[in-house]
């Protein structure tokens, strides 16, 4: 009887995908800066809260090791240009990191001001204040290239890792040619990060600042494995840096029939980031997101902000297991995303070639701590389903006739040592295509460390 009722109800529910669910003002409002910048007064008050630690824990917690107390002190004395210099010296993408870093698990988590039920120093916000101020100055170029060395380095990928590496190499006097598969530089800063974190075309202004140093040329539409090959690059250049990020996505692990309305979160976000008119994006009324990381949170919030009515984030374990930080989970929830823990997808339900729902099963850990289904199932209606269960590194571009040129790590990424050196001499790698934190800031550090190693390598090579 009850199953009959459910069936009737399911039939009644029409697929509801629409465009332009919101007014023009609502789009603007929903995709503007989530953290409005600090003004001078607020920045100075905040800067003065910093106790100026010696051997500061926050520095240690920053993957790029920015001298945080030093730049904060400079803000407090109104030496904002000096503050920006301290930041960019360690992290040339300090502007985007200030916006996208999960500071709550990096520098701000380590801040000694967390104690005594106090708040940490808003390090990210202060960093943004300093860098944004620099960017508005006519004398914003802080760096100068050393005398030309005549060495040429090929960098693959113009994401944070590649750009950071290129900038550091160019400062050392080397010429850098970046090969980028897409039409724009910036990597996931341009195509992946949630739109409200980097509004106003910030990624491109940062790229142009980096390029303004000189000595860096970007060749667009040049993909490794297609237009260019690693074998050739090694022949033509003094060294090679690989910063291609991750281009693949994980599969759900259940039968995935071809049906409309099921999408990779990263692809949809890329469309969103490229879109000049958000009302042209298809938005379901009932949306389900599968995954527990940054990407899952980002797609859930952005689809909600595009006007989806019910957004459910399905995650197979508990909140403490999510790779999305506590702050991000909370941010999703305050945006009206319902997070359903301890449940996994079992079957996609389609109707007339379009997704209509998803059957799920509750999960639990068995005595050995292994995840298993409880046998108890439920169904959620869905007009749109986003898969956000992780990106993967695709090694094929680094192959030669189907043969791996580079050693891969256990998790299938490019294996590197502490200096970013791969198994091939003269070939370095960093960022998401290697093992690490999979964060912008970590990619910047990876590029920087490799650049320093390449510089040493070229000096000794002769």
């Amino acid at each position: 009887m009850s199953s009959k009722v459910a069936e009737l109800a399911a039939q009644a529910a029409e697929v509801d995908i629409a465009f332009g669910r919101l007014t023009a003002e609502e789009y603007v409002e929903n995709f503007s800066d989530i953290h409005p910048p600090l003004d001078r007064n607020k920045a100075i008050i905040e800067a003065n809260r910093c106790v100026f630690c010696h051997d500061a824990p926050c520095i240690e917690a920053c993957p790029t090791g920015i001298q945080i107390p030093i730049f904060i002190k400079k803000i407090s004395t109104d030496n904002v240009k000096g503050a920006a210099k301290t930041i960019l010296e360690a992290n040339i993408m300090g502007g985007s990191c200030a916006r996208v870093c999960p500071t709550e698990e990096l520098c701000e988590e380590a801040c000694v001001r967390n104690t005594q039920s106090d708040q940490p120093i808003k390090i990210g916000q202060l960093q943004r204040y300093a860098v944004d101020n620099l960017m508005m100055r006519p004398d914003r170029q802080l760096f100068r290239r050393k005398p030309a060395t005549g060495k040429r380095i090929a960098v693959v990928g113009a994401g944070p890792a590649g750009l950071s590496c290129a900038h550091r190499l160019s400062r050392e006097g080397h010429d850098v040619i970046i090969f980028e598969a897409k039409e724009k530089a910036g990597g996931l800063n341009e195509y992946g990060i949630a739109a409200y974190k980097v509004p106003n075309d910030f990624a491109q202004s940062e790229v142009s600042y980096i390029l303004s140093l000189g000595g860096i040329e970007i060749k667009y539409g040049q993909a490794l494995g297609k237009q260019i090959s690693l074998v050739q690059l090694r022949k033509d250049y003094d060294a090679v840096f690989l910063g291609m990020g991750m281009t693949g996505v994980n599969a759900l692990g259940i039968a995935e029939e071809e049906m409309e309305g099921i999408e990779n979160a990263v692809d949809y976000i890329e469309d969103l980031r490229k879109s000049k008119d958000l009302s042209k994006l298809p938005v379901g009324r009932r949306v389900v997101v599968i995954g527990g990381g940054n990407t899952a949170i980002d797609i859930a919030i952005q689809i909600k902000r595009l006007g989806a009515e019910y957004v459910t984030l399905l995650y197979r374990r508990g909140p403490e297991h999510m790779t999305a930080t506590e702050w991000e989970q909370e941010f999703a929830q305050t945006n009206g995303v319902m997070i359903k823990h301890w449940a996994m997808p079992k079957k996609l339900i389609g109707r007339h070639g379009h997704v209509a729902g998803i059957e799920c099963e509750y999960t639990q850990l068995d005595d050995n701590g292994k995840l298993m289904g409880t046998g108890d199932t439920f169904t959620i209606d869905a007009d749109q389903v986003f898969k956000a269960i992780g990106q993967t590194f695709v090694p094929s571009p680094c192959q030669d006739n189907g043969k791996d040129l580079l050693q891969l790590s256990k998790k299938g990424r490019i294996a590197v040592n502490d200096e970013g050196l791969t198994s091939l001499p003269g070939v370095y790698a960093g960022g998401d295509c290697t093992e690490g934190q999979d964060l912008t800031v970590a990619a910047v550090e990876g590029g920087k460390v490799a650049a320093e190693a390449i510089d040493r390598y070229l000096k000794t090579k002769r």
Binding site: N48, V51, C53, H54, A56, S76, Q116
Partner: protein, 427 residues
Amino acid sequence: MADLTCKIGGVTSPNPFWLASAPPTDKEYNVVRAFQAGWGGVVWKTLGEEGPPVVNVSSRYGAMHYNGTKIAGLNNIELITDRPLDVNLKEIERVKKAWPDRALIVSLMVPCEENAWSKILKRVETTGCDGVELNFGCPHGMSERGMGSAVGQVPEYIKDVTTWCKKHTKMPVFVKLTPNITNILYPARAAVEGGADAVSLINTINSITGVDLDLMSPEPVVNGVGAHGGYCGPAVKPIALCMVGEIARDPACKQIPISGIGGVSTWRDAAEFIALGAGSVQVCTAAMHYGFKIVEDMIEGLSNWMDDKGYKNLDAFRGRAVKNYKNWQDLDMNYEIKAKIHEDKCIQCGLCHIACEDTSHQAIRAEKKDGKRIYTVVNDECVGCNLCLHVSPVDGCITMERVENGKPYMTWLQDPRNPANMKKKTG
């Protein structure tokens, strides 16, 4: 409830919190609001003689902001009241009638001639005010006309003017002293010799609060240039306390009542002044920063603290710290303390370590264990200077612990290491 009644130099007020002679006491409107808020007394903004106009410039204030905290110190280049004498006197009379229980002192500054003082005293007497305060302190503008600190820096003048005033009025005479002098005891003793009923101190300190680096002008800037002004506010409290203490313990000052002024911002500041011998305290900058309502906490806080300590009235603790105000040579050379770091309260900021390492005695060791920063005091190196305690951002992370060495109290005068004592031995 402790009794806060304040009696000083023949003047009584319900509490020791007076507003100092300054913009907050410039007219009836302000003073009435102050009394409504609960202030025990006011010293009316300084009146001058009838005739030559007093004209002020703009701007008038410069300020020292420190690490994001506004007005650690304030500087002004204002003159005495710029309102007609008649108007002020009428208002004073009205206010005193309406608020008989509050202390109302009138501050005066006229040229250094007996006739000028006798003339103004006669007129002020008609208002029924409780006393006068002779302003010998103003360091700018008026001093260039031979008044204010120009008089206050010459003890003989202070004595003369005080004597004239005592001769020409029955009203209590307070003498307000300038700190712009090497030894505060000279003007204080002169006031005592002239028969003053009390001294008030300090007035403001000569200062330039800053330099505008675009205009290349001292601050406050008046059309591209600046003059030195008078410094006041929290930053001057230590200087004021020292001068009050000097007078309180000086036998030649004969325990003249003191109205303590300089950086008083809280009840605690007031309690400190009173403990060092002050009868009342006067406040200006704190009121100018936050408005008159701050007096509520001053009264309540002082009263609660006195209750906690069992002090029934102000006399119960007035001057209690005076006997402990010593000269360096009378301190105990055998007293030993060492810093102790409490790991449970340590937030690992490293400030104590770097302060001691770079600028003191290399007595705090820094180590890292399992990613945790651990700071420990090397007892043998610690000299007990307590710099680490002052730089630490956390209450109680460092305490100074007494070392029981069993040695007796020994002053430098008794110390065998004192060259004077060595000579005695050999010679």
